[in-house]
Symmetry: C2
Subunit: 295 residues, 2 copies
Amino acid sequence: MHELFTVHQFPASGNHADLPAEVRDQVRALAFKGHSQLGADIIDAFPNIGLIANYGVGYDTIDVAHATSKGIAVTNTPDVLTNDVADLAVGMLISLSRGIVGASEWVLSGKWANTGAYPLQRTLSETTIGIAGLGRIGQAIGKRLHGFDADLHYFARSEKETPGWTWHNDLVSLAKQSDILIVAVSGGPETKQIISAEVISALGADGLLVNISRGSTMDEEALIKALQSNQLRGAALDVFNNEPNVDARFLALDSVLLQPHQSSGTVETRKKMGALQRDNLSAFFADKPLLTPVS
Amino acid sequence: MHELFTVHQFPASGNHADLPAEVRDQVRALAFKGHSQLGADIIDAFPNIGLIANYGVGYDTIDVAHATSKGIAVTNTPDVLTNDVADLAVGMLISLSRGIVGASEWVLSGKWANTGAYPLQRTLSETTIGIAGLGRIGQAIGKRLHGFDADLHYFARSEKETPGWTWHNDLVSLAKQSDILIVAVSGGPETKQIISAEVISALGADGLLVNISRGSTMDEEALIKALQSNQLRGAALDVFNNEPNVDARFLALDSVLLQPHQSSGTVETRKKMGALQRDNLSAFFADKPLLTPVS
């Protein structure tokens, strides 16, 4: 980054006002990373920016409407992370259903040698798997699950071209039909708590929930209550409200698999995400078309 | 079982001689479960048996040659467990490559909240995955991995009809070509330590190994040395020599994912395995064709 551009680091305090106004005036683009809010206040504090280049596919914390209204473009890093996110979703699903983390502990603690076989888990075969959201990542998850012996259903605003997967235009209908629900919708106001108490209840006491989208898509209170009262068999979560401060009630549950928002967290993919972010910045400064504008 | 047949329990001591000779003389079939040896000594101690009905697909601990020479049939429980074993193999592969067990611990221990992001792991995308053994289980693993963005190669005695997977008639050649090697050959004398020091070395320092076959297929000494000296990136193992007493050196390694031989360990599949074992016994006693004879 430093070889290509003159870089001013955002203040470690997290407060843009700690960057002198004369520096902020010089800044022409923001390179953004992380899951904190990038709202109108920050955007307005940089009066001469023409681009916000996000590192990541989700840009729900960026006030895109405000940026757009001021003629500021926003780019993200789609595609390059799709495979990793889909891989982790499938890995989390199998790990949850087959108790891989507990089984590892069973061996390491000596229980296998000293007390006998690991408790039986539950099969994935002949289950119905629902995917909420069939964008790039949802499609990649479906493509992977196609090789498993499962019936695939999905929720999307419109029916998509798929190899025999069943469309639902309603999340409760999808959850009712599904043994397992994988959440792959985008974050943002439109999908806030879209996985509601009603959806979780429709999934049922034998259901599993996997979330690799955003914590905001989940009614966490309803989820925690369902898990605590065994109204849901289990949940595998890579994203949370208020992360990295995971609700302590999740930590006390045996029926969850918790991951630290690592769905795109591989050496290879993070390099590609960084390169795409830089390429968008370079295009902007060279007055060329942006590679991956969000709108 | 007790409703269908007169059942004599094998002695808890594990020693067949603890069952009185007059009882052993009455026994006409052995219903076998587990991974201990069922050799010529035990077979000969039951002079009137016509069937050994195994619970499980692998029958490497049963002396089938000796049974056959005495006109004793052997049955196993194939097919009904294929999907579960393949599911776990893929789950172990993703868990190992993406560090799912360590990531879970990262959240539970509070490290995510207190020290920051989980260390970057490694992608599965654009890797070459080799499958050693393309029987029922190997094929089911390949079918699942087909939806992932990976190049598939396999080792088998003869070339199989596959959707574009590359055949190797030599394990070292397969390992050289592969980033990840999944072992799905049958157990028994023919495959003893087939995953040799040479195969492990050919896989290379960046390689991953997944074993869901039998501990006997692996040169465990060579594997442990390769892992200890970082000549292999990691291994996910569901089976071991001398299980459930896992070699303590495995327990000390960070680069392994250990599972307690749970590949068919689901409620649903174990029911089906039991039913198939009973159906073979019923067929035998009704003088009907056996459902799943091994030879």
